[in-house]
Subunit: 255 residues, 2 copies
């Protein structure tokens, strides 16, 4: 199966590498930035282009560009004979339907950084397809690179993506705030690393609601007031402290 | 060294077990709830009491009760000849000074759940002491159960605790919100577990600021608007979405 990869960002890079080690054949990488296209194409031992009108003939066109950029990219590519796949958590399948007879979605749920290796087989992939034939094709591709493949509707995928933003991007922002607090008091982020690891490890076998700890969970109002005071110089952190503390207190008041 | 353990909560339980496997000798457990005292005392093969006036003579009194409860417990215990230690992240050493000649703090930084085993040696312990002799004693105790022992002032410990609330308790609340979102759309929390694991794993070797991903980081405004819309039924989650997204956008706008 010949695949053209459109995009060279984090998701495109990891998908491309996973396909490179499968029976699928990535024949070309497109990026609007020629240097980026060439960098990834070199790794995947294929052609590079920055011209959407010069895409190779292929069985599968795999689109992995920013959601905002997708409509313009589709318009410039024009209609395709192969299976057209997008990789967005948020966009509906409908968006790409006019551009090919067979369309599908491959949404790998993971936080990809270009320079961190990942075992793609462990990453759940969520698929959606415009019909039985495209479903068969997209699931075959997903199964070639992942051990966990699930069909989801566009609506469900959108909610999964919102949940992922809370569990990953927002969690990472909380880590970053914690790092800021430590830094401003000459403390090393290293001190928190075992705690962060264990917090994530606990919910691998239990539900988060069952393992909450800390002053809000205990209703330790003296500590909560003390913490609020120590955050006085940063109104955004104070607001976060209030909203998240109230959320925790309400969650356990209901029980 | 004879130790009396005052408290039978999560921290007291894990500390007691760690000491049980060291050269320290836990001789008695106090809890205001007799059944809880006996439960832990059984595990530590020692006496149980629910009467603070009947504490055994010991070299070390290790206080691990809720911050709110500490002043009343101290008053009822009365002054002690041994080393008096508290385990609070927030309370200053000063609070217990009037109750013993030698006082100290042992603050183990971890999220303790009673029924999840932990390798205590991996948990950083932060100490503080009222003088050289108590410093020697408290550091010896901490080193007997942990590989990482650091002296911190009360002020630094308080800020470390605030940072830990963000990195652990608030993170776990975000996991819980993600679980709520999934549940309301008939999706299993299991789907997010690899993502949560990887988000925590990434910051073990890098700083959180260096590994952020997602729509806020990318400036993907269409997705951000779509997500806000999907959270319409829950104003608290919408507020969190806004504050955390703005935080991420500001963080990278500065760079």
């Amino acid at each position: 199966m010949r695949v053209v990869l459109i995009g060279s960002g984090n998701v495109a890079t990891h998908l491309g590498k996973a396909l490179f080690h499968s029976e699928y054949n990535v024949v070309q990488v497109y990026s609007r930035n020629k240097a980026n296209a060439e960098l990834l194409a070199n790794e995947l031992e294929c052609e590079a282009t920055d011209n959407l009108q010069l895409l190779e003939e292929a069985d599968i066109y795999l689109l992995s560009v920013k959601d905002d950029a997708l409509p313009a990219v589709l318009k410039e590519m024009g209609p395709k004979a192969g299976l057209l796949i997008h990789t967005s958590g948020t966009l509906p399948l409908e968006l790409i339907r006019p551009f090919a007879l067979h369309t599908a979605v491959v949404y790998p749920l993971q936080t990809f950084s270009k320079h961190k290796a990942l075992d793609f087989l462990q990453i759940p992939i969520f698929t959606e397809a415009s019909g039985p034939e495209s479903a068969q094709m997209v699931n075959a591709l997903a199964n070639a690179i992942s051990d966990t493949v699930l069909e989801l509707s566009s609506e469900q995928r959108k909610h999964l993506h919102v949940a992922a933003v809370f569990a990953c991007n927002f969690t990472n922002e909380l880590y970053a705030i914690a790092a800021d607090i430590l830094k401003s008091h000459q403390l090393d982020f290293d001190l928190l690393r075992p705690l962060i690891q264990e917090t994530a490890a606990k919910v691998q076998s239990q539900l988060p609601e069952a393992v909450q700890t800390g002053p809000a969970r205990r209703g330790d109002t003296a500590t909560l007031a003390e913490h609020q005071k120590s955050l006085q110089t940063n109104p955004e952190w104070q607001e976060l402290y209030t909203v998240l503390t109230d959320g925790i207190r309400k969650r356990y008041a209901q029980q």
